[in-house]
Amino acid sequence: MAQSQGWVRRYAKAFCKGFFVAVPVAVTFLDRVACVARVEGASMQPSLNPGGSQSSDVVLLNHWKVRNFEVQRGDIVSLVSPKNPEQKIIKRVIALEGDIVKTMGHKNRYVKVPRGHIWVEGDHHGHSFDSNSFGPVSLGLLHAHATHILWPPERWQKLESVLPPERLPVQREED
């Protein structure tokens, strides 16, 4: 009896120890290095979810790459939605701070992106809730950089950072 109690206690102790190591390490890894997420909606067609509602892609989100809030024009990034903080959105970066962009359906025809902000748009124009409706977004809302499609397996690929030529900024910030 005493022996079995000792065994139980030892087991519980080992379990607690493993628990307190594994959970913080896993949470930190998912917060700081990388995580995976399922993409919902048609706003990034044809880059993501080309099949419409039948298929939804799973992407790898790299947090480590954007730890200093450095993004390039054309990158696909995920952000906290400025309209609903519980939701994350995935969009393509069109312009960085200081650029002047020609908008599509925004209240102003041309917008200069303010300091610390970026202009993001979905690839599927007209079916995307993006900067054309809520304006430039603060870099502080940046969540991660989507680098690969992981699932479905036949769509496994690296996500290229391409800027549609017709969406080049009208005037770039001089480097």
Binding site: V25, K83, P85, G116
Partner: protein, 201 residues
């Protein structure tokens, strides 16, 4: 005869034992080096493991529970003076429990690497008085969905939502509720001295 037999067997056993021992531990110097190396390696691994473990625990604590923060700048005077040390908690951000009148830490909208410390004046849908004191006419605006309106307590010397507009809720990092230093002011933080800035509803 039997005596000889026994002797032979014992000699054989000794030889076998000797060989076995040598197989197990190698030469005496080799074994000693190996144990030393093993000790150093084990120590290094243990140190790295503990560093990672406690780093991760610290990250989780600062990200989800809260931490001690030092505030600088004049924008929250007289509630928080320059270089006061306060306690901030992040739970109410995760559970969306931020209310009007709370003092929050948020990422600056124009520079994501710096933080600002302001008081929440209005939540989404609230009607806010946006004119500066020098303006004669009153002007109002509504806080859009998913945004909050932040203002410093020191209205004359504060860069806040009156200057850069409402900020998204996602920029809020935590809520400040307890002052630790200076000791003369130890305790929960006071209400806003600018009560008239709050909307009625």
């Amino acid at each position: 005869m039997s005596f000889m037999k026994l002797k032979a067997i014992s000699a054989l056993l000794t030889v076998i034992n000797f060989i076995n021992n040598n197989k197990k531990s190698g030469q005496w110097w080799q074994s000693r080096h190996r144990t030393m190396l093993r000790g150093v390696l084990a120590k290094t691994f243990r140190l790295v493991g503990y560093t990672i473990q406690y780093g991760c625990i610290a990250h989780c604590a600062f990200e989800y529970v809260g931490g001690v923060v030092m505030c600088s700048g004049p924008s929250m005077e007289p509630t928080i003076q320059n270089s006061d040390i306060v306690f901030a908690e992040n739970l109410s951000r995760h559970f969306y429990g931020i209310q009007r009148g709370d003092i929050v830490i948020a990422k600056s909208p124009s520079d994501p690497k710096s933080n600002i410390c302001k008081r929440v004046i209005g939540l989404e849908g609230d009607k806010i008085l946006t004119n500066s004191p020098s303006d004669f006419f009153k002007s109002h605006s509504y806080v859009p969905t998913g945004h909050v309106w932040l203002e410093g307590d020191n209205l004359q010397n504060s860069t806040d939502s009156r200057y850069y507009g409402p900020i998204p809720y996602g920029l809020i990092r935590g809520r400040i509720f307890f002052k630790i230093w200076p000791l003369s002011d130890f305790g929960f933080l006071r209400d806003s001295p600018n009560g008239h800035r709050f909307s009625d509803d």
